[in-house]
């Protein structure tokens, strides 16, 4: 049976702790007597027969939904939307959950004589996926059956003809989503819920929405009032999406939600040491660690990036639920919490976050400095329920090389954001007020988003807003091992070593400050009392 998460109190016998550092890792010794390390629960046991579990979920849906076969009929318009490349992390080995679920849905649709079927990748404002990425997600059979005939689409949030405005919520939020999805007789949404933030009404209300709609919840105010994104009951981001989702349902859009969860078995066997607690490393793990770090240190950054981007996780499906959106999502969230929650006693003065090579927005791409900020202060900081791991006025220490490097195809507006906006201010409110509209409406970004593989022009703003709560909450942010000029452009302080960073942090939180290291990935959620 999988062991639950664990909080280690560091003492003199504690071995150095593995800390992620981009495309690499460091072994860091934390001060004894005032440090602790949070370890994720071990991977839950996967479903024995995921394909059969999927079939059962479709036949026995949750909430007030009818079984999927009862919703399918000849002559209907069926749209199947699915999560994009930002999930899961790292990308999972084939077959992907999306492929398994879609094949099951399509089999039932075929049995019911449904011909008008369109697949839509729910990109929101993310970049368009490549053919190889789509094939990996949906499988070759589905791809070959739909893509050549133009029935595998990628949502275009900037196509006026492809969007429909369904109305406004009671809070005045515009709800504008993909026309094909909205005007179908049935919209099936295929989800992968890697973290508690994913899924529910957010799937359609965000994944298939336009900028006009998204801006109502992807803004500084909402992000600052989402505490955290992993706790739907205390997340304004989710409240807004739920209002929109209910309006979508009230508008007559029939959504059949299918959510799947994964265990946190994130790394292949040869990198098994990444899943283990350091004192349990075997001689083989130590050898693998040494060999990996040595070869990475000799590899040029491009090669190291390529090695890490090629990792396919042995994630396995742990649950699948289908039916009415909210009922499904409650069950899914419980499963995510089962895999990821770790009880943590109280806050700390300093949080240490080792940042891995990957976040949702740099799959097959570069973790640029803005994504470093987002990963550290948007994602890892927000991996909590209750209250943040680090106290208000405390210090976050991130570990990442933070190179001044951008993927020119994927992140063109990020480059401009970094060069122009952050050179002026790092204040999210000022940034939103002075710059967002221009970037969001820039014709060139719009062109690249629609025709190339670029994130939308406004996307770097959302990345910055994602960390807005942390920026307001923290007394200081330090990046260990980061390129100094990049780190300074972000408004943070560079440090060469963790020891230096702790020394710098003592100016803010004193010399006997408590320290908590989030040993992540694998992903966890700190349930902070």
């Amino acid at each position: 049976m999988a062991r639950p998460g664990f909080v280690l109190e560091v003492d003199r016998s504690t071995p150095p702790i593995l800390t992620w550092h981009g495309e690499g890792f460091r072994l860091e010794r934390l001060p004894a007597g005032r440090s602790r390390v949070i370890y994720a629960p071990e991977p839950l046991k996967p479903l024995d027969d995921p394909d059969e579990e999927i079939r059962q979920a479709l036949l026995h849906p949750m909430g007030d939904s009818a079984p999927l076969p009862d919703l399918l009929f000849a002559g209907m318009r069926l749209t199947i939307a699915f999560d994009d490349i930002s999930l899961p992390l790292p990308p999972m080995r084939r077959p992907d959950n999306r492929q398994r679920v879609m094949e099951a849905v399509l089999e039932m649709a075929a049995a019911a004589g449904v011909d008008d079927v369109v697949l839509i990748c729910a990109l929101a404002l993310h970049r368009r996926m490549t053919e190889a990425e789509l094939r990996h997600a949906v499988g070759d059979r589905v791809y070959d059956a739909f893509a050549p005939s133009g029935r595998l689409l990628q949502h275009d949030a900037e196509d006026p003809a492809g969007l429909v405005h369904l109305g406004q919520t009671d809070q005045g939020e515009d709800v504008e989503i993909n026309r094909r999805a909205a005007e179908s007789d049935l919209l099936v949404y295929v989800n992968i819920n890697l973290v508690a933030m994913d899924g529910g009404h957010k799937s359609v209300a965000t994944g298939l929405a336009s900028y006009r709609s998204l801006r109502h919840h992807h803004n500084v105010r909402t992000m600052r009032h989402s505490r955290s994104f992993m706790d739907q009951e205390r997340s304004e981001l989710h409240s807004s999406n739920w209002r929109m989702g209910r309006l979508i349902a009230a508008s007559g859009v029939k959504v059949f939600q299918i959510e799947t969860t994964l265990n946190n078995d994130a790394f292949p066997e040869q990198m098994g040491f990444l899943q283990k607690r350091e004192w349990e490393w075997t001689a083989r793990d130590r050898g693998a660690y040494l060999a990996t770090t040595k070869s990475l240190s000799l590899a040029p950054p491009r090669v190291a990036r390529s090695i890490f981007q090629s990792i396919k996780a042995p994630h396995a499906m742990t649950s699948v639920y289908a039916g009415e959106v909210e009922a499904v999502h409650r069950a899914t969230t419980d499963m995510v919490y089962r895999q990821q929650l770790v009880a943590v006693d109280g806050q700390t003065d300093i949080a240490v976050f080792g940042l891995p090579h990957l976040c949702p927005y740099n799959v097959n791409s570069i973790m640029n400095p803005i994504l470093v900020m987002c990963m550290g202060l948007g994602y890892l900081f927000n991996l909590y329920r209750g209250q943040p791991v680090v106290r208000r006025g405390g210090v976050a220490i991130l570990s990442h090389p933070t190179p001044w490097a951008f993927h020119p195809v994927h992140h063109p507006s990020y480059i401009d954001f970094f060069e122009e906006v952050l050179a002026d201010t790092t204040d999210p409110v000022e940034i939103e007020k002075n710059y967002e509209a221009r970037f969001a409406n820039d014709e060139w970004y719009r062109h690249l988003y629609r025709t190339s593989h670029a994130y939308h022009g406004v996307h770097p703003f959302y990345m910055w807003y994602w960390g807005a709560h942390a920026l307001e909450h923290l007394g200081r942010v330090i990046i260990v091992g980061g390129e100094p000029r990049s780190v300074r452009r972000l408004g943070f302080s560079p440090a060469s070593t963790l020891a230096d960073a702790l020394e710098m942090a003592s100016d803010v939180v004193g010399r006997d400050a408590t320290i908590t290291h989030l040993h992540c990935p694998p992903i966890m959620i700190a349930d902070v009392s």
Binding site: I415, D416, E419, E420, R438, D442, E443, W444, H447
Partner: protein, 384 residues
């Protein structure tokens, strides 16, 4: 008297190209120049600037274009503030045009007042030389004494420092460049380079071109960036950011070869390298004007964009009456710009003649060392 002199020596020019040392330059005791005529007088330099064209000359990188219009040996130095014998402080307008050369009748350009376009730079009673500082008969500013025609002398306003006065000549060049592009309305413009000419051009545009509402400056070094902002640039970017910055400011697109679909209405290239000219052409809007304010020399540039987008490439050399400013002379306008913008702050270092190697090295690497204008300080130079 002591003077730094350039002699025609292919060996020394070749050595300079290889070693980056000012081999063509020699500090020597030389006879003072004779007065070429009645309208000439002796002037004694106080400060004399080191210009980019001087650096090109002493490092052997100057274009052979100049060979027929200079005369060896010459004493460099054309950015000069000096005293006359009666104690008047003057700045020298160095162009050696028809009137100064005693050419009569003057050439059509000089007759029209455009003395910087003079067609008789090799005629008259002076040896060839486009300016004081390139003519063997006049001497130059890098010495204790030179001779100047009365038409070349502009009195320094009362209360000005020598540092402000020595900035008048380069600022006049910048004024001329600033006014070399057509006046428009709500123009987004770019100044590439933030050395002396770049910074002076920014100041000139800020004071003389109200039609330029957005001025993007391209500066490599921190001190240059600070000064560019202070002098009137609305945005300051690194050289490798220029295309993206202009794209953002003008709402245009960047195509795969790096050129913009739209761009800036005016681009002043104050560097003159192949890279800077390519950048200028890449960010200039269709129909825009690119002004070469920095001395270019031999460069290899793809001019397809210039043709396809009907970009006007304009040189800006020296000074003269400025039609865009009601015919006022560049020097007169430069005096105003120097005073109003406080350009004396651009004088960063002063050297005696003895330390000319250090001075040249400092000037050649000024930007990276936080400097802008490096000058020779002749105020303590022995006079005879």
């Amino acid at each position: 008297m002591r003077a730094l002199r350039v002699e025609r020596s292919l060996t020394r020019f070749a050595a300079a190209r290889i070693s980056a040392q000012p081999h063509p330059l020699r500090l020597a005791d030389v006879d003072p120049p004779d007065l070429p005529g009645a309208d000439w007088q002796v002037v004694r330099p106080l400060l004399s600037g080191i210009c980019g064209s001087d650096l090109a000359t002493v490092s052997g990188r100057s274009s052979r274009w100049f060979e027929p219009i200079v005369s060896f040996p010459f004493v460099p130095g054309h950015e000069v503030v000096a005293d006359t014998d009666d104690g008047t402080r003057v700045v020298i307008e160095p162009v050696l045009h028809c009137r100064i050369r005693g050419v009569d009748p003057v050439c059509p350009a000089c007759a029209a007042g455009r003395t910087n376009h003079c067609e008789r730079l090799v005629a008259g009673h002076l040896s060839p030389g486009l300016q004081t500082g390139y003519c063997r008969d006049t001497g130059g500013g890098w010495s204790a004494l030179l001779v100047a025609h009365q038409a070349q002398l502009h009195p320094v306003p009362e209360g000005w420092t020598d540092e402000a006065a020595v900035m008048v000549e380069p600022t006049a060049c910048a004024v001329h460049a600033a006014l070399a592009a057509p006046i428009g309305h709500g123009v987004t413009a770019v100044v590439i380079g933030a050395g002396t000419i770049g910074l002076c051009t920014i100041a000139a545009v800020a004071h003389l071109r109200p039609d330029v509402t957005e001025l993007i400056a391209v500066a490599k070094h921190p001190e240059q960036r600070r000064l560019a902002r202070e002098l009137g640039a609305t945005h300051v970017v690194d050289p490798d950011e220029i295309r993206r910055a202009v794209r953002r400011a003008t709402g245009s697109w960047i195509l795969d070869q790096g050129q913009l679909t739209g761009g800036a209405g005016v681009v002043w290239d104050c560097v003159g390298s192949a890279g800077s000219i390519a950048d200028a052409l890449a960010v200039a809007a269709p129909g825009a004007t690119v002004v070469l304010a920095g001395m270019p020399g031999h460069v290899g540039v793809d001019l397809t964009g210039l043709w396809q987008r009907e970009i006007r490439l304009a040189g800006a050399y020296a000074y003269g009456p400025e039609p865009a400013a009601g015919g006022r002379h560049s020097f007169e306008l430069a005096m105003e710009v120097v005073g109003r913008a406080g350009l004396d702050r651009l004088v960063s270092a002063r050297y005696p003649l003895d330390r000319y190697s250090e001075a040249i090295d400092h000037a050649a690497h000024a930007g990276g060392r936080g400097a802008t204008k490096v000058v020779f300080d002749l105020r303590n130079e022995r006079r005879r």
